[in-house]
Amino acid sequence: MRPLLNAWVCTIYAFMYLPVAVIALFSFNNSEMIAFPLQGATLSWYGQVLGDARLLGGLGMTFLIAIPTAVLATILGGASALALTRYRFRGKAAFVALLFLPFAVPKVILAVSWLLVLAELGVAKGLATMVVAQTIVILPFTTMVIASVLVRLDRALEEAAADLGATTLQTFARVLLPLARNGLIAAFFVAFVLSASEYVVTSFVSGRNQPLSILVASDFRFHLSPTLDALATLLVVANLAIVAASELIRWRARGRAVGRT
């Protein structure tokens, strides 16, 4: 039984990493064809991607959208995670349902309903609409990331602070916030990555200045080339590096929470 189980788990993890590994492998392959057998190594596809001015412009717009989105999603996610993990209150079930509504509703349905409202109110599509739309879609994820850190924090520390005469605000600012800091940073990074790679919702509410994810969309949809392969690999590596950093930060938060109890 046990070798079978181990083999199965390895197979599933291999399946999860197969596409990533394949595009990474062929981004270095010295051939126009993305096919076996391999033809030797080259960096020329990366050279082509990094010399593309259009992509660099899109990258600037991506940062312009992703930073405010990540800040908003982290603040709102932090508030809801705190409410969910620290307090009992009336209407909590309704609050949870509301919070996960953007996760459960198909993105295209959310997007077309925004389209209706924007048309109805005569609001122009642009930076603000993209930030608001992405924040709503990303909020359930930041809430989960922060809540996963908060549930592991020892409540005795907050109670001790309260017993020692700290006000609610002092306890929050001097005990809870420092302890939850790493969770907030992790959530910020996760939100940044989700924002930078979001396509469906963003494409519906984007204006004239488009982020990288929209600029490269038509290429990715209709073409296959080693240059795109190199671009895809760069995007994956950037995303994974940010997520890996945030996970490391989140683990450290756990270690510290446990260490102090």
Binding site: M1, L5, N6, V9, I12, Y13, F15, M16, P19, V20, V22, I23, M33, I34, A35, F36, L76, A79, S80, Y87, F95, L98, L99, L101, P102, V105, P106, K107, V108, I109, V112, S113, L115, L116, V117, V132, A133, L139, T167, T168, V190, L194, A196, S197, E198, Y199, V200, V216, A217, F220, R221, L224, L228, A232, L235, V236, N239, L240, V243, W251
Partner: protein
Amino acid sequence: MERTRRLVIAALTWPVAAALLAFCVAPLLVLFAYSFFRVDFVTIVPDPSLANYIRVASSPTYRGLILRAIESGLLVAAISAVIGYPVAFFIAKRGRNAKSALLTLLLIPLYTGDLVRIFAWRVVLGAQGVLNSFLLWTGLIREPVRALLFSPFATHVVLTYNYLPFMVMGLWLAFEALDDRLIEAAMDLGAGAVARFVRVVLPLTVPGLLAGGLMVFVLVVGDYLTPQLLGGSSGITVISAINDLFGTAFDWPLGSAIAWTLLGLLGLMGAAAAAAMVRSAAARAMTAGG
């Protein structure tokens, strides 16, 4: 003290609730209102009727698309439950120190982005793609297998790939809550491996199956890009139909009616799954108490 507590709760929940009500619930309600309107040439006439819902219900095309979305959702939920179950067990019960690392490794592919992921799968599954050229090269096949890409097969493989981590997360939580002593007790009482699984482990992980299954189901039903870009002629889904009605076909009211029919069905499935979860949790509490 009680007053401060209330103030804190209000300060934490109201901004979030207000944002969600304004930017998620309200737009969906506007969509709902539109579903009762009608289109007259190029203008939308607010002349409420159930005509759009009747059109959805009486159209074999739209009924078929909705049915197919639900079938796909159930199928992918079932596949990911079967292949994810041992993985969740392994992480929870055999993971030891590597538990966090295993979970993180499982979730990381979620962050590669929709389009990049689909691009990668096209590279893998295409007629001149990696899998075919690999099989040709090794001599296992003579002709490239064309059915790999642009088929329901490709769509379902990639949908499973996309949403498997959500199923494993749901199941992992259930396995974490599963008390090993119950399995030991069953073993002491002479239950074989099969009996232990069917009568102890499986019933106790039902909430995880339901939670994971519900997440996978709604995500598959709502997936727009995967069928469109990998399904070929099978790529028309209820979601792409809604998208078309809001784009080229310009029939926002009909699109809204299809969208709300789908939301209603998703809501029903969600409510059923939630009720089943509460019931199995109650059953567990009763057995634990008695």
